[in-house]
């Protein structure tokens, strides 16, 4: 099993979600986050005082996938989230040891 985490532009969430549903991904967790990579932040001014904001609102999607699906899912996210500009985000993959369904104790890929 592999955990896929993708940090993407807020505006691309819908497209990514749709693309993942199309290849058969059944579950995901979506989190509103703030962060930065190479993309520069922006400046806000309140009553003449400037604040530079380098943490930009992004969306993070997490899902744990059976190994057979990982590459398909990566391609789906890449295809849907890419605008070609700085700030499109990143995908992280990591090994996942175990998954357990709380309802019935089911374990392994069957629990996904």
């Amino acid at each position: 099993m592999t955990k896929l985490e993708a940090v993407i532009q807020n505006s691309k969430l819908d497209a990514v979600k749709t693309a993942l549903h199309e290849i058969g991904v059944e579950g995901m967790t979506v989190i509103e986050v703030r962060g930065h990579g190479r993309q520069k932040g922006h400046t806000e001014v309140y009553r003449g005082r400037e604040y530079s904001v380098d943490l930009i609102p992004k969306t993070k999607i997490e899902m744990v996938l059976p190994d057979a699906m990982v590459e398909k899912a990566v391609q789906a996210v890449l295809g849907a989230a890419r605008t070609g500009k700085i700030g499109d985000g990143k995908i992280f993959l990591s090994r996942m040891d175990e998954a357990i369904r709380i309802r019935n104790d089911e374990r392994g890929e069957g629990a996904l």
């Binding site: 532009q9 807020n10 505006s11 819908d14 703030r34 932040g41 922006h42 400046t43 806000e44 001014v45 309140y46 604040y51 530079s52 904001v53 380098d54 943490l55």
Partner: protein, 472 residues
């Protein structure tokens, strides 16, 4: 007991005798002196009435301003997504400033100066001749300056209502330019036609098609609502609409905004009596009843259709009822107001929930569904339910009061109302289209897609409504 009675009689006799002596002295005085006293007394009575009316009208003016800020600003601010909250509020607030400047320079004159049937003249530019003396054609008991500042508050809220249609996607600069043109091209002529001296639709100052519009059903709500629809169609949908969910980010803010709208509307409608008399009371009562009935209508319709009455439905219903009663407030009885409100609540709900979805236009905050539809409905129903017992507005050649609306047998009035509504629709469509075209070519109407995703707050103003971190 007997002693008390005697004492009472004695006192009464003394008072009577004294009064007799005083009266005799007055009678003995010259006739000129008595006359002078009467004149003075009359003058004092007029001054007292003027003060009372003025107090109410200044209060009303303040109430109407409160409808725009914070009322409408909060109402609209809550309905947008959180990245657009202060950008949306700023649209209302900016108009409080910009329209005021225009009004002082020339808009008041274009609206209420005596000019042609379609637009006012220039005799009051820079507020020349608008001072302490009343303008007897409009309001004989209050200073012309009070009338001017009261009407200004209407000129502010009307364009602010349109902002609901192009919410979350219009450039701030383009919005300001659009509103400046709109005030002059659409609002001022419409206000002049319905309320100004010699206006085409004026019911009390000799208009060709006397349209009953007590507080601005056509002038305020039809013009702004229809212009809103034109804006929504011209600008196109927001990025992601209607596929992406765009729920209100804070129904709480909208709720807090709707309440001062309801209260402020008493200034809007009851203030339109332009005096503190019984007509103001009648309009106040009609306003309140219509708002209540429309709340029941909208929330009830939703309850039946969706199984739950929503809070947003309740407050939207109240606004719809207030819109619909606006032209009728000073002409109808309380039970008619209940009927108008109830119909408006259900009708506007249908417009927003059914018609908008069917045609797919992105009237983001339902400026057309509530103000355009509710205003049109209210203006027509005014022609049905107006009665001369509430407001004897129409007189025959002998000065006798004649029938007002359809239920009194004056079917002709319904036709006049249609003319008034038709003129408002036409002016709003043509004027708004022309202005949008000009602003689009010169400044550009929409923010870029990236800015839209980022939100108005950051892209247009460089601020955030809800600051996420204290230090950065």
């Amino acid at each position: 007991m007997g002693k008390k009675l005697i004492a009472t009689f004695a006192t009464a006799f003394l008072v009577f005798a004294l009064a007799h002596v005083v009266c005799a002295q007055i009678a003995a005085g010259s006739g000129r002196d008595t006359n002078a006293r009467f004149v003075k007394l009359e003058q004092q009575a007029a001054e007292a009435k003027s003060s009372a009316d003025n107090a109410w009208m200044l209060t009303s003016a303040a109430l109407v301003l409160m409808m725009t800020g914070p009322g409408l600003a909060l109402f609209y601010g809550g309905l947008v997504r959180k990245k657009n909250v202060i950008g949306t509020m700023m649209q209302s607030f900016a108009l409080m400033a910009v329209v005021t400047v225009l009004w002082g320079l020339f808009s008041y004159s274009l609206s209420f100066g005596s000019g042609t049937s379609f637009i006012g003249g220039l005799e009051n530019v820079f507020l020349r001749g608008v001072g302490a003396a009343p303008d007897v054609d409009y309001a004989a008991t209050i200073p012309a300056q009070t009338f001017m500042v009261y009407q200004l508050m209407f000129a502010i809220i009307t364009p602010a209502l349109i902002a609901g249609a192009f919410a979350e996607r219009m450039k701030f600069s383009a919005m300001i330019a659009f509103m400046v043109f709109w005030s002059v091209v659409v609002y001022d002529p419409m206000a002049h036609m319905v309320w100004g001296k010699g206006g085409l639709l004026n019911a009390s100052l000799g208009g060709r098609f006397p349209t009953l519009d007590f507080a601005g059903g056509t002038v305020v709500h039809v013009t702004s609502g229809v212009s809103a629809l034109v804006c929504a169609l011209y600008l196109g949908k927001r990025v992601g609409y209607p596929k992406e969910a765009m729920p209100p980010h804070s129904v709480v803010l909208s709720f807090i905004g709707a309440c001062p709208l309801w209260v402020g509307w008493f200034g809007f409608n009851a203030g339109s009596a332009l005096a503190a008399g019984s007509l103001a009371t009648s309009a106040f009562v009609a306003t309140h009843f219509a708002a209540a009935a429309a709340t029941v209508g909208w929330a009830g319709a939703e309850w039946i259709r969706n199984g739950k009455p929503s809070v947003l439905g309740g407050i939207s219903g109240a606004v719809a009822g207030l819109v619909a009663i606006t032209p009728a407030a000073g002409f109808v009885k309380p039970m008619a107001a209940l009927i108008i409100g109830l119909i408006a609540g259900v009708f506007c709900y249908a417009m927003v929930a059914k018609v908008k979805a069917k045609f797919g236009y992105d009237d983001s905050l339902d400026a057309f569904g509530v103000h355009g539809a509710g205003g049109t409905l209210g203006a027509l129903l005014t022609g049905v339910f107006a009665v001369s017992a509430v407001n004897p507005i129409f007189k025959d050649a002998q000065g006798n009061t004649v029938a007002s609306g359809l239920i009194e047998g004056n079917a002709y009035q319904l036709l006049n109302q249609c003319v008034g509504v038709g003129v408002a629709w036409l002016l709003a469509i043509v004027g708004t289209l022309a202005i949008l075209k000009i602003v689009d070519v010169t400044i550009g109407l929409r923010i870029t897609e990236e800015e839209e995703v980022q939100g108005l707050d950051l892209s247009q103003h460089g601020e955030e409504g809800y600051y996420w971190e204290a230090s950065a």
